[in-house]
């Protein structure tokens, strides 16, 4: 099944070395962020450094004990991204500190970072094998539905026209962020169970094998969820994300291009209907196409000012950037959340953003690598879906900021201010780490020392597996 050689070495020391680099990036960025306007070694600096380093070491130690063969690159990348995000959020707080009513965002984000990493750690400790999650396939579906419906209940809050938040007492929470995980679990469970049926049935039309109508049911369900999110919660970004997640997973499950084409056609229909029926979607498109039209620029709400100011910021940064703390990213609305890439692009320049995007590429690639390496179909689908979500989310948010596609309100994973997003993405990291552990772990029946010396095909074959899985 797997044609990738798994080298049964723990690589935890590599992770430790990379973690040191990540700490240097995260703490260094925070230091430079504060250098400009305050005592750089103040309480907050130490709190942030201690939280990131302490939490990073905690996860590292848990991995050493619980999942010592997990991918060594994922954790350092995520710590670095989280640290850069925190530094930029802190830097954006500073110019507003003189306002006595202003509540700084960075300490909240730091608290959420700690909460998110603790949640990921708990998951790593108690969920020894990701395959257990398969038992919760349909529960996940119900949980997803509940999460997505929560904002529509009286608990929900409408902010800037989108109803995707709920009030959880001490703050707000975006259940949709968590729903993308439960949806991924549901899709992975459903598809890994039913893919044989879906694969076998259906007519052939030229090179395309068309699915049976009844097999289309889950796709229609996913489509309805996406459209529902778009209509009821007015959240174009999440809508795209959910549908993209499903499309990626069903393609990986079936290897059928026909599914992708049907999916794209459904998106096209959905987008056309949304454009006709919903003014907020139409305004987004208009702001995208005619961003530099004075009328569109000055329109409020729904004008292109945010995206145009973001472009000015990126242009101001140019190749090398203005330097951390030297630009004016605070001129862009939502600079610390939706537009954080514009802020980073202004101060770190194209070179800096490229480095950040390379980190994402590595992270996503390691996720796909885990999918290739793990032996069970559920794990493959889950790892693919989650990794693809990160890539798609980066694409939607950065594409929107650079005016490649219309701007939609989505967070940049690990960096944007927002606790729910951070929590959800750290849980994704824990899941990817667990899946990578099963992908790289030497087979239990062989003695580890032997296994380390001679990785053999027969050794891998000893793992029990279902007959169809992995075949095309």
């Amino acid at each position: 099944m797997s044609d990738v050689l798994t080298v049964p070495r723990s690589r935890r020391n590599v992770e430790a070395a990379l973690l040191l680099l990540a700490f240097a990036v995260a703490v260094g960025a925070n230091f430079v962020a504060g250098l400009e306007r305050e005592d750089p070694f103040n309480d907050y600096f130490w709190r942030q450094a201690a939280t990131l380093v302490g939490m990073g070491i905690l996860v590292h130690l848990i991995l050493r004990i619980r999942a010592k063969y997990a991918d060594p690159v994922i954790l350092p990348i995520v710590i670095a991204l989280n640290g850069i995000g925190l530094a930029m959020i802190h830097r954006l707080d500073l110019p507003r500190m003189e306002n006595p009513d202003f509540v700084p965002v960075a300490p909240q984000q730091l608290t959420w970072t700690a909460v998110a990493i603790v949640a990921a750690s708990v998951l790593l400790i108690f969920l020894r094998d990701h395959r257990i999650l398969r038992r919760f396939t349909y529960i996940s579906l119900i949980v997803s539905a509940l999460l997505l419906l929560l904002p529509l209940t009286p608990l929900g809050l409408e902010i800037n026209g989108a109803r995707i938040w709920i009030n959880v007492g001490f703050g707000t929470f975006q259940p949709g962020e968590v729903a993308k995980i439960t949806l991924a679990i549901f899709f992975a469970g459903y598809l890994s169970t039913n893919r044989d049926l879906i694969l076998l049935a259906g007519k052939k039309l030229g090179p395309l094998q068309l699915p049976r109508f009844k097999d289309l049911a889950p796709m229609i369900a996913a489509w309805l969820v996406s459209i529902g999110v778009l209509i009821l919660q007015r959240d174009l970004g999440s809508s795209i994300l959910f549908f993209g997640l499903f499309m990626a997973m069903i393609y990986v499950a079936t290897s059928r291009v026909s599914w992708v084409l049907i999916g794209l056609a459904m998106i096209g229909v959905g987008a056309f209907i949304a454009l006709q029926l919903f003014s907020h979607v139409a305004l987004r498109f208009d702001s995208w196409l005619n961003a530099f039209d004075p009328e569109v620029y000055n329109r409020a709400p729904g004008g292109s000012q945010q995206v145009v100011q973001g472009l000015f910021g990126l242009a101001n940064g140019g190749l090398a950037g203005t330097g951390f703390g030297q630009g004016r990213p605070d001129l862009v609305t939502y600079a610390n959340s939706d537009m954080i890439i514009a802020a980073l692009g202004e101060e770190l320049g194209m070179i800096g953003v490229f480095a950040i995007i390379l980190l994402y590429i590595l992270l996503v690639s390691r996720g796909f690598r885990a999918a290739l390496g793990t032996k069970d179909g559920f794990g493959k689908l889950l790892a693919c879906g989650l990794s693809f979500t990160i890539a798609l989310q980066c694409f939607v948010v950065i594409g929107g900021i650079t005016r490649l596609i219309p701007l939609t309100g989505l967070t940049t994973p690990f960096m944007s201010a927002g606790g729910s997003s951070l929590l959800a993405n750290w849980i994704i990291v824990a899941l990817l780490l667990l899946i990578s552990e099963t992908a790289r772990r030497p087979v239990r029946t062989a003695a580890p020392s032997e296994q380390a010396a001679v990785p053999s095909a027969s050794g891998r074959g000893a793992l029990p597996r279902r007959p169809k899985e992995g075949s095309r």
């Binding site: 250098l35 990986v252 000015f312 996503v364 980066c394 594409g399 490649l404 095309r472």
Partner: protein, 480 residues
């Protein structure tokens, strides 16, 4: 399934490639266009968002940037605004910047080449590129005294310099204004304030009268004639010049008169000492005829006429006209017709005479310091011209002492101190005269030169506001 996983990975990488491409487009190819977009006020925000260096007088800031709660982060604030307005100018969003705020903009904002090293250090250490502070040569007490000596509602300027260095110790003009009114960030309020200020008679917020307003010098210009006469070698202390009460001007029906009520009428010929002492017109008109337009013009040029100076604020070029007819030359010789000077120009004439004939470049900057207080530069005195020989300077000094001792400048006398000076009254068509005093003290070792001009005054007020005021300033400086 693995083949499909690889395909999905390729799609993911493809999406990343697309955003790398779009970032390259925005940050590299389109950057120039975006940076110059009309809606892009980042450059403005960047300039205004940086802590700009202070303008200091005797260690105290007269202009500084303080943190503000608006989108610009910093607000330029002027202390003692009216007193220093014409020196600092203003730093405004809509109306640009003027005077030192403009002339020293590179230093104040930290972008000057002189601060290159600091910028490199800043780049490497991540510290902000803070502007340098500029310390002025102004003496705050003399500045305040000079300010108080111009009555409210009176138009006039006073320039106090140190002849040996060219350093400006005080430079005030009225009417003045409050630059804070223009530096306010709210563009509507600023526009309203500018409109109100433009209605003030005699005030332009864009012009420092002491350096940019060209006015008729009248008789103080006779110092230039006397210098030219001595330098030509044709005249000395013994030379007797005809002193008719009225000099007929060829080709016209009018004549050039001496001052009717003055002492000039007591002599039909005059030496230069007497002609200066009583400020007789007719001898100087004849000297100018004798030496010719070019000689007077050349002498004026050596005193700094005809060129714009940077001190570092821009100084308007004072003018001695050319291609003159005989009557025009006669009028010009007594500082009328098209002779136009800045108050600073007359201060330069007095300073050159005081400094053994060597004209030092006027200078307002004592020191420039980086944000960390490291001294970046402190301008050293510069010679602008050798205006006259030391001998000529001595002779002129002697005659100017006589003006204060016995002549029109008696109001400037200080017991125990020899004061050298020259008064002037320039007629301006359609309004009152310009009353002048320019001089220095002590005559044997000049420490300070004072030039005062009061515009649009009658004769009595003019003489009250010039020589006696100069005396007060001399005393204040010499008693320090």
């Amino acid at each position: 399934m693995n083949q499909a996983i690889r395909s999905a990975w390729v799609v993911a990488i493809g999406m990343f490639a697309l955003i790398l491409g779009s970032l390259t487009y925005v940050q590299f190819f389109e950057a120039e266009e975006l940076n110059t977009n009309d809606w892009n006020n980042r450059q403005l925000y960047q300039d205004f968002g940086r802590p700009r260096g202070a303008i200091l007088v005797d260690g105290k800031a007269v202009a500084e940037s303080v943190p503000s709660n608006d989108q610009f982060n910093y607000q330029r604030v002027y202390k003692e605004p009216n007193l220093y307005a014409h020196l600092t100018g203003f730093y405004s969003l809509v109306n640009g910047s003027t005077q030192l705020e403009q002339a020293s903009a590179g230093l104040l904002s930290g972008t000057s080449d002189e601060l290159f090293y600091d910028r490199i250090v800043g780049l490497l250490s991540g510290a902000s590129s803070q502007g340098a502070s500029v310390e002025l040569t102004i003496d705050p007490q003399i500045q305040q005294l000079a300010w108080d000596l111009i009555p409210e509602g009176q138009r006039g300027s006073i320039v106090v310099t140190e002849p040996a260095t060219g350093n400006i110790l005080a430079m005030v003009s009225k009417p003045s204004y409050d630059p804070n009114l223009i530096a306010v960030h709210d563009s509507e309020i600023a526009a309203r304030n500018v409109e109100q200020l433009s209605a003030v008679p005699g005030l332009s917020i864009y012009r420092n009268p002491a350096t940019e307003s060209l006015v008729a010098p009248g008789s103080v210009f006779k110092l230039v004639d006397a210098a030219a006469a001595l330098e030509s070698g044709d005249y000395d202390a013994e030379s007797q010049i005809p002193n008719p009460p009225v000099l007929p001007l060829p080709g016209t029906t009018i004549g050039l008169p001496n001052y009717v009520n003055g002492t000039c009428a007591t002599r039909t010929t005059a030496d230069l000492e007497f002609a200066l002492e009583q400020s007789c017109n007719t001898p100087f008109a004849q000297i100018a005829w004798d030496l010719g337009e070019d000689a007077i013009q050349e002498q004026a040029r050596l005193f700094g006429f005809g060129e714009r100076h940077q001190i570092p604020v821009a100084v308007e070029a004072s003018q001695f006209p050319s291609d003159l007819s005989q009557p025009e030359l006669a009028q010009s010789a007594i500082g009328q017709f098209d002779v136009k000077v800045t108050p600073l120009q007359m201060a330069m004439v007095a300073s050159a005479i005081a400094n053994d004939g060597v004209l030092m470049k006027p200078n307002l900057i004592k020191a420039v310091r980086a944000a960390d207080l490291e001294l970046i530069n402190s301008p050293s005195p510069e010679v602008l011209h050798e205006s006259v020989s030391a001998g000529t300077a001595d002779q002129l000094t002697e005659w100017m002492v006589n003006v204060v001792d016995n002549g029109t400048g008696r109001g400037a006398q200080i017991p125990g101190v020899e004061v050298a000076g020259k008064t002037g009254t320039a007629e301006v068509e359609g309004r009152g005269d310009n009353a002048w005093f320019t001089g220095f003290a002590p005559a044997d070792d000049p420490q300070v030169a004072v030039t005062i001009v009061m515009e649009d005054v009658d004769l009595a007020t003019g003489s009250q506001l010039t020589s006696p005021n100069a005396k007060q300033i001399f005393e204040a400086v010499l008693n320090q």
